[in-house]
């Protein structure tokens, strides 16, 4: 097979019908371009939403839940084991809120190979006091640097730095809603009162905005030690443990293990956010369905144009065959034309898609709910560009194959005698 000759023939064919070839290529360009734009934008959005939930949410959340005992004493007695026991008004026992033996549990979890990191937390109910205003809320004692590493808390610190809190045991990272209500700014002081009436003066080193008003109006962060001091507890007092895993899919298995082993409540991320996975899947399906439809339409365009071209080129095909080009050569001439259209249209489509994606990426998109976002999210994963060009080549190959197969079978004698 003599590729230079075949390619030069298909090149001449395409160039002598520049308008037709361009329209065919344009079909591919739009198909691939739209695919790139859709996929980049949709997956960018998906990633943003995933991050919003996944980054902030612990894969396993361990805490001590107050709940009535599942088994009542009467059920343990043998003489009533056959009986039908009805116990009314079952109340939970007053339990300690803290996790029993939290520090050994923490170091045990850190040693687990599935775990990427573990952070302890202390929740304290407080009143915020500034001037004459008194607001109730929650102070959460955290290891702020670990929270920043594992749960990207720094993305939601709109003023100040996580280091400012880590360095100062009398500091607080105030919820943005509280700061607004109390007209407080970074650098101001406020007092925190416990339910017992003790007062703690704290310095505001930063503002925290999650985007959810309910949280921002209530919640603030301090160091672990500060929260323990506010509650008057020692350093083993820990109410919640957040676990981040290396592989999110192991969350359920891990949560069940912990519940069984330590008699604690452990909630895995999928149970906490069941609806979120569904949304991602459906958005992906829509993206691919639309893109494939576009490419199929482009493919039909190419099929049509090549089919027409072969009708017009019957004479040429007969001459080529009479002068020694085999059926396979002729087939390759037409397939290579289809694929040239696909490659040229596809590459331009990639550029087109890339440029529009960049434009979208620079379009301002400001929303209260997402303090970390200032423009539309776009995912520039090179994989989508590879998929795009492979798809362009594959679909044009298929569109060119049938007409080319017909060209291969054309009998030159019939054409030459037909005149």
């Amino acid at each position: 097979m003599n590729w230079t000759v075949i390619l030069s023939i298909s090149k001449t064919h395409l160039l002598s019908r520049l308008k037709q070839s361009s329209i065919a290529a344009l079909g591919v360009t739009f198909g691939i371009g739209t695919f790139i734009i859709l996929v980049s934008f949709m997956t960018g959005l998906n990633q943003l939403l995933d991050n919003l939930i996944l980054d902030r949410t612990p894969h396993v959340h361990i805490y001590n839940e107050i709940e009535p005992s599942a088994q009542q004493p009467v059920e343990l007695l043998e003489e009533f084991s056959e009986a039908f026991n009805i116990i009314r008004s079952v109340k939970p026992k007053q339990n300690q809120e803290k996790i029993h033996n939290a520090l050994p549990l923490l170091s045990h979890l850190k040693k687990d190979t599935r775990v990427r990191g573990v952070t302890p937390q202390v929740k304290a109910q407080v009143f915020y006091l500034a001037g004459s205003i008194k607001l109730n809320g929650v102070v959460q004692g955290v290891d702020i640097m670990e929270e920043a590493r594992l749960f990207n808390i720094d993305d939601y610190i709109v003023q100040g730095e996580p280091q400012d809190l880590a360095r100062n045991d009398n500091a607080i990272l105030l919820g943005a809603g509280i700061a607004k209500k109390m007209s407080l700014e970074v650098g101001d002081k406020l007092q925190v009162a416990t339910a017992g009436g003790d007062l703690f003066p704290l310095k505001i080193v930063g503002l925290y905005q999650s985007g959810l008003a309910e949280i921002d109006n209530v919640q603030s962060y301090t160091n672990l030690k500060t929260a323990q001091r506010i509650l008057g507890e020692g350093n083993s007092y820990i109410t919640d443990i957040h676990v981040k895993l290396l592989d999110m899919r192991k969350a359920l298995e891990m949560a069940e293990e912990i519940e069984d082993q330590f008699n604690l409540s452990a909630v895995d991320i999928n149970r906490a956010n069941a609806q979120f996975e569904t949304g991602t899947t459906i958005r992906n399906i829509i993206t691919y369905a639309v893109s494939i439809t576009l490419l199929v339409v482009a493919g039909f365009g190419i099929y049509n144009i090549l089919n027409m071209m072969i009708y017009e080129k019957m004479n040429d095909i007969a001459i080529l065959k009479a002068t020694g080009f085999s059926g396979r050569d002729v087939k390759m001439i037409f397939i290579s034309q289809a694929m040239l259209i696909g490659v040229v249209g596809g590459v331009i489509g990639l550029f087109f898609g890339y440029i529009v994606s960049v434009l979208i990426d620079h379009t301002p998109f400001e929303t209260e709910a997402l303090p970390t976002i200032s423009t539309f999210p776009v995912n520039f994963n090179p994989l989508y560009y590879v998929i795009g060009i492979v798809f362009a080549i594959a679909s044009t190959f298929l569109a060119g194959y049938l007409p080319a197969q017909r060209a291969k079978k054309i009998d030159p004698v019939e054409i030459i005698r037909g005149q």
């Binding site: 001459i319 009479a322 085999s326 005149q419």
Partner: protein, 229 residues
């Protein structure tokens, strides 16, 4: 024997062909013929006598026949489409009644294509050969024009140049002058005559034109699918 075989450029033995569409019809009846090297042969006959059909069988393009066909001593019957295409490329030159050039290519490209397909010579050598053939046929100055932009007589000469590019053993022509005025016909005949004399090319020409046929070495007359003289 070997000398004799070498001298036979083309030989057909007991070729029979039937058309089945629209009705069963025996077009070629037991045709045997032989063309020697350097011979200028014409086939004559009335319309529908099968002379064109015979030419396409002899040209290897039509493979739907019984009997045997040899070109340059090699048996063609039973070869694959690919192999036959290669034979047409290197051994046979074609000239059609309608000039049949590729309209989007230049005159030079038209002449070069079979040579490039053969691939025995580099593109530059093929270009050189093609220009030489065009000059030989007195149309060298048209080389860079599009094939659709030259006159009918010129087109036929380009077709002859294309037929010659791979130095074939035999040139087959189907009514090469059928579409030309008498002056151009004369011209084409003289060119063919000259090729047969000077380059010892074998020529097989199907024609209606008595004057043309009279001037060839041998006339094969066909009637109702048979050779009668």
């Amino acid at each position: 024997m070997s000398i004799e075989a070498n001298n036979k450029v083309l030989e057909a033995r007991n070729v029979n062909k039937y058309f089945t569409i629209p009705v069963s019809f025996h077009v070629l009846k037991d045709i045997s013929l032989c063309i020697e090297r350097g011979e200028f042969v014409s086939i004559m006959g009335k319309s529908g006598c099968g002379k064109s059909t015979l030419l396409y069988v002899l040209s290897t393009m039509d493979t739907d026949y019984t009997g045997e066909l040899y070109i340059a001593g090699e048996k063609m019957t039973g070869k694959s489409g690919e192999e036959l295409a290669a034979v047409r490329n290197s051994e046979i030159g074609f000239i059609f009644q309608f000039h049949y050039l590729l309209p989007e290519f230049t005159v030079l490209q038209n002449v070069m294509l079979p040579g490039l397909k053969l691939g025995r010579k580099s593109a530059d050598e093929v270009r050189h050969d093609a220009l030489e053939k065009l000059r030989l046929l007195d149309i060298g100055e048209q080389a860079d024009k599009l094939a659709s932009r030259i006159s009918g007589g010129q087109k036929q000469r380009v077709a002859i140049a294309r037929a010659l590019i791979n130095q074939p053993d035999i040139i087959m022509a189907d009514e090469p002058t059928g579409n030309l005025d008498s002056k151009n016909s004369e011209n084409v005949f003289n060119i063919l005559r000259q090729l047969s004399h000077e380059q010892h090319l074998s020529l097989l020409v199907v024609t209606h034109d008595h004057d043309f046929a009279e001037k060839t070495d041998r006339i094969i007359i066909m009637e109702d699918g048979r050779i009668v003289g």
